[in-house]
Subunit: 497 residues, 2 copies
C-alpha cells in the first residue's frame, strides 16, 4: 500500500511483481464494483417497476371524472400489473439466489456514494443516442461497459477453452478471464486517488473467500442508487429470455439461429465424436445458440461480455429443473402499441426446453469476458474450426480489430458465419469523447474481411427482429447480413497491433 | 407591473382586464422564448453536424496504422460529409430567411442563461424513454413542448378556420392561436419570479413590431446553447421532408396517405365546388397530406403544434419556385446500418411537386397551435365534415380528450379517419412526474370512441414506416390501425370537462 505523499515516486520503484499484483487487485476491485452495480439493478427491479405503476396511477388520478368513469377498469389493471411484477421479481430473485459470484463480494468498498462519476455518466450516455424510441427497444442490446472489462480473481491465465470433459446433465462450464496477462493498460478513467483507495483500505477486510455462499451480497442494504439505464438493462434481459428460452421466441430463433445451424451442418457434414469441430460464439447472450451448436456435435463455447447476461444464462443453463418451470410477464413495461391489455399482460413460460436434457455434447462452455481481451491471446491463434457471430460485430469499438481477431483464431480453412445488422453500439455517444467508435458500412466490413484472408462462400440478407414483442404495433426490423466466409490457407497470423 | 414586496396582495386586487393583459404578455414571452430556442436549433445545425464529423475523425485517428491503412478512403468520406452538411445548411438558412415570425423577436429577453431549468429538463427527458435506439429514429416524432403552447400576439380570438378565400398560387394561410380565451390556466411550471420578469422589464424594450422583417433574430449572437434533443429535432425535420416532399418518400406516402385519400374520395363522392366538405388534419406535420386533401376538393386545414414543422412547411408550401429546387442529404447523420457510403451520402431532391401548381382548392390553410387549445373552442363545435388523424392520436397527454374533441367538432354524420400506431409521446418520461400520460390499448381507444358517439365503418391494419431510410439495414415498422368511424346523429355536444 502506498503512502499518500510521494505516491508517484514510490510507484516508480515498485517491482514488476508488485506492479502486477497491484494491477490485479485494482482490476478485481473494479470488477466487484461492476458486479455489485449489476446485482443492484436486478434487486431494484420491483421498485423500479412499481415506480412506473405509481406514475400511471398519478396520471389516471388527474383525469376529469367523466374520463375516469370511462376507464373504470384501470385500477384493476394497475393491480394486475403489480401481480405481474411480483411474479417477475420471483424469477429474478431465484436467479440471484442461484448465482455464485466469481469474486469475493464481501469487501466493504464504499460504493454507496458515487465513487466513479465518470462511470455513471458513461453508462448514462449509452442510452442517449440520436434517436430515442420511448416504447420499444429492439435496438438496445446490452454490453456492460461499467468497468470496461469483466475480470475475475480466479487467476485463470490460460485462455484456451476448458479441456475438462463436461457431461450432459452436468453444469455448463462458466469461465471468466481477466486481462492481467494480455498487456492492456490500466483503465485511463481511474484517478490516482481511487487507485489508492482500491489498492489499499478496500482490501484489508477481504476474507479471501472466492464465493460468498451465504449470499450476503443480496442484502438490500447493499443496493445502490440504480440509474435508469440499468433499470432498462434488466428489462432488456427479460426480453432476451423470450428470444432465447421461450416458445414465443421461436419465430425469432428460426429467423436468426436456424440458418446458422443449417449452415454449420452443411459445412461440417462428417462430425465425429472423437474429434468434434470447435465452434466459438462471441456475443452469446443467454446461450441458446451456443447450446444448439453444442447439440449439433460441436465443441461449443459461448463468449459474453455482460454480467447481466451471464448471471441469467448460468441460471437457465445450470439450474433449470424442467420445461416451463418459470413464468414471466415480459411485456408489462410498456403501455405503448398494445392491441389489448391482455396482450400486454400475457404470461410467457420458460424454458421451452430443459437445457440439461437437450443433447448438449462434450466441451460446451460459456466464457465471460471481453472478446478482444480474451481471444487476442496467443493461445487462441488457429484454435477454432468455426466462429459464429450473431448480432455481435457491431458491438465493437473497432470492428477492424474484431475481424482481425476472428481471422487469427480460426484454423486455416475455418469458417466465419455472421448474421446481423450494423447498429454500432458506441455510435452517437455524445459527450463521451473518449469512446472510440469505428462505424463501417457493410461494403467496407466485407472489404476489410477480404484483407484479413477471408473469401466469401455465401452471402444473403435475412429480415428479422431482435427481442421484439410479436404482438406490438411497432416492430423494429433488421435486414441482417448473413454470410459464410472461409479463411484461406497460408494467411500470416499477425498479432493485433 | 408589480412591486417586489406585497406582490400577492396587489395581484389579488388586479382587475380582470389587467390580469388578462398580464397573462397575454406572459404567454407571448413564453412563445418568443420557445420560438427562439427552435430558431437556435436550426441555426446550430452546421455546428452540431461538424461536431459529429470531428468525433468520427478523432476515432479514426485512434486506429493503429495498419487499420488506418485499410480505411484510407475515410478522410475523403469526412470531407464529403462536410460538403453534404454545407448543402443541408444552405437549405435550412434559406428556409429561415423566408420565415416571418408571427411574433416580435426583437425583445431582449435574457435567454442566454437558462431562465427555465424545468423547460430544458423537460425537453431533455423527452428523448430519454425506456429504450434508446442510437442510430435510426422512426419513433421520435416531434411536438415542441417547450412552453406547452404555441400562442401568438395577433389576437385572433375567433378560432374558426379562416374564411378568407385563398386562391391557388397564393400563399397558404398560416394561422396561429393563443389560448387566452379558452379558459386554460397559467402554465404551472412558471415561478412567480419569472412571471414578474416577463410581465415587467422584459417588455419595456418591445417595439410592437409583429414581424421583424430585417431578420435580426437570425444573428448568430442570438444563438443559445442548443441541447442535443433539439439538434435531434432538426434532423428529424430533415427526415420528415423526405417523407412529405421527396420522390424517395413516395412509398411511405402511398402506405399512409393514399388509403386515407381513397377513403375520403369514397366517403364524399359528390363534392361540389360551391359547397365543398371541410376536412381538418390535426398533426399535419409538413403539410403534404393536408395539401393532397385540398387537391381532392375539400376545404382542408392542417393543424400543427410544432414550430419546427411550421417553419419548414410554410417554406415549402409558400416559397417553392419549382420541382426539385433544393437538394438535401437526409441520411448523413448516422453511420449505422449503411450498406455503402454512397447510400449514406446520396442526395434527395425536393419538392417532388410544385405545391402552388398542385391543384390546391379554396380554403387550404395551416393552423399552428395545440389541438386541444384551438379546437375545444365553442366556435369549432360541429364545424367539420371530416377529421383525418395520421400518426397523431398518440401525441396526446390524454387521448380521451382528443377523441372527445374530435367527436365534438364533427358534424352529425361526419367521419373520423385514423391511421397510426399508439406510440404515446409522453410515455416513459422518467423524472417528469407532472407530465400526464394516458396510454390506452387499441381496444380501449375504440371503446372510448364508441362512447363518444362513433360507430365503425371500416377497420384494418396497414404495415408502414415513418421517416425511415428505405436503404437502411434497420427499419422500424408500424402495424398501423386504420379506421373510418362515423359520428352518429344526435350525440350531445358536451364541453370538455
Amino acid at each position: 500500500m502506498e503512502k499518500e505523499e510521494g505516491g508517484v515516486k514510490q510507484r516508480m520503484v515498485m517491482s514488476d511483481e508488485e506492479e502486477k499484483s497491484r494491477r490485479l487487485k485494482l482490476e478485481e476491485a473494479l470488477e466487484i464494483q461492476s458486479l455489485r452495480r449489476i446485482i443492484s439493478a436486478y434487486l431494484n427491479y420491483p421498485d423500479a417497476a412499481e415506480e412506473d405503476v405509481s406514475r400511471y396511477e398519478r396520471s389516471f388520478r388527474k383525469l376529469p371524472p367523466a374520463h375516469k368513469a370511462l376507464l373504470s377498469h384501470y385500477p384493476q389493471k394497475f393491480q394486475r400489473l403489480r401481480r405481474c411484477i411480483a411474479v417477475n421479481s420471483h424469477f429474478i430473485f431465484g436467479m440471484l439466489q442461484a448465482f455464485e459470484p466469481p469474486l469475493d463480494m464481501s469487501g466493504d468498498i464504499d460504493l454507496s456514494r458515487d465513487a466513479h462519476p465518470e462511470h455513471g455518466q458513461r453508462d448514462h450516455f449509452v442510452s442517449e443516442g440520436i434517436n430515442a424510441c420511448p416504447c420499444e427497444s429492439a435496438p438496445l442490446r446490452i454490453t456492460c461497459s461499467v468497468s470496461g472489462q469483466h475480470a475475475c480473481a480466479e487467476g485463470i491465465n490460460d485462455t484456451r477453452r476448458s479441456s475438462a470433459p463436461v457431461h450432459a446433465n452436468k453444469e455448463v462450464d462458466i469461465e471468466s478471464h481477466h486481462n492481467s496477462d494480455t498487456g492492456t493498460n490500466l483503465p485511463s478513467l481511474i484517478h490516482n486517488g481511487e487507485i489508492r483507495e482500491y489498492g489499499g483500505a478496500a482490501f484489508t477486510d477481504s476474507n479471501n473467500n472466492i464465493s460468498s455462499s451465504c449470499q450476503q451480497w443480496l442484502e438490500p442494504s447493499l443496493q445502490l442508487n440504480v440509474p435508469l439505464v440499468d433499470v432498462d438493462k434488466v428489462r432488456c434481459i427479460i426480453r432476451n429470455i423470450v428470444r432465447d428460452w421461450a416458445a414465443e421466441g421461436k419465430k425469432e430463433r428460426d429467423q436468426c439461429y436456424k440458418p446458422i445451424l443449417e449452415e454449420l451442418n452443411r459445412l461440417f457434414p462428417n462430425r465425429c465424436k472423437e474429434s468434434p469441430p470447435a465452434c466459438l460464439v462471441p456475443g452469446a447472450g443467454l446461450g441458446r445458440l451456443a447450446l444448439e451448436i453444442s447439440c449439433l456435435g460441436f465443441v461449443s463455447q459461448g463468449n459474453e461480455f455482460s454480467y447481466y447476461m451471464m448471471i441469467c444464462s448460468s441460471f437457465i443453463l445450470n439450474h433449470s429443473q424442467t420445461v416451463d418451470e418459470w413464468t414471466i410477464y415480459p411485456w408489462i413495461h410498456s403501455n405503448c402499441n398494445s392491441v389489448s391489455d391482455n396482450d400486454q399482460l400475457r404470461p410467457v413460460s420458460l424454458p421451452d426446453i430443459h437445457p440439461a436434457s437437450a443433447g448438449i455434447t462434450e466441451g460446451f462452455s460459456m466464457c465471460g469476458g471481453d472478446f478482444v481481451e480474451v481471444y487476442s491471446d496467443s493461445s487462441q491463434v488457429g484454435a477454432w474450426d468455426a466462429v459464429v457471430t450473431c448480432f455481435f460485430i457491431d458491438t465493437a469499438h473497432n470492428i477492424v480489430e474484431y475481424i482481425e481477431i476472428i481471422s487469427q483464431i480460426l484454423k486455416d480453412g475455418g469458417v466465419w458465419i455472421n448474421f446481423g445488422p450494423l447498429l454500432y453500439h458506441f455510435a452517437d455517444m455524445y459527450g463521451q469523447e473518449d469512446e472510440m467508435s469505428i462505424e463501417l458500412s457493410l461494403e467496407d466490413v466485407k472489404r476489410v474481411a477480404l484483407h484479413y484472408g477471408f473469401e466469401f462462400e455465401k452471402e444473403t440478407t435475412i429480415e428479422t427482429t431482435y427481442t421484439t414483442n410479436p404482438r406490438s404495433m411497432m416492430q423494429n426490423r433488421y435486414f441482417a447480413a448473413f454470410w459464410t466466409m472461409r479463411k484461406k490457407s497460408g494467411v500470416a497470423h499477425q498479432q493485433v497491433p
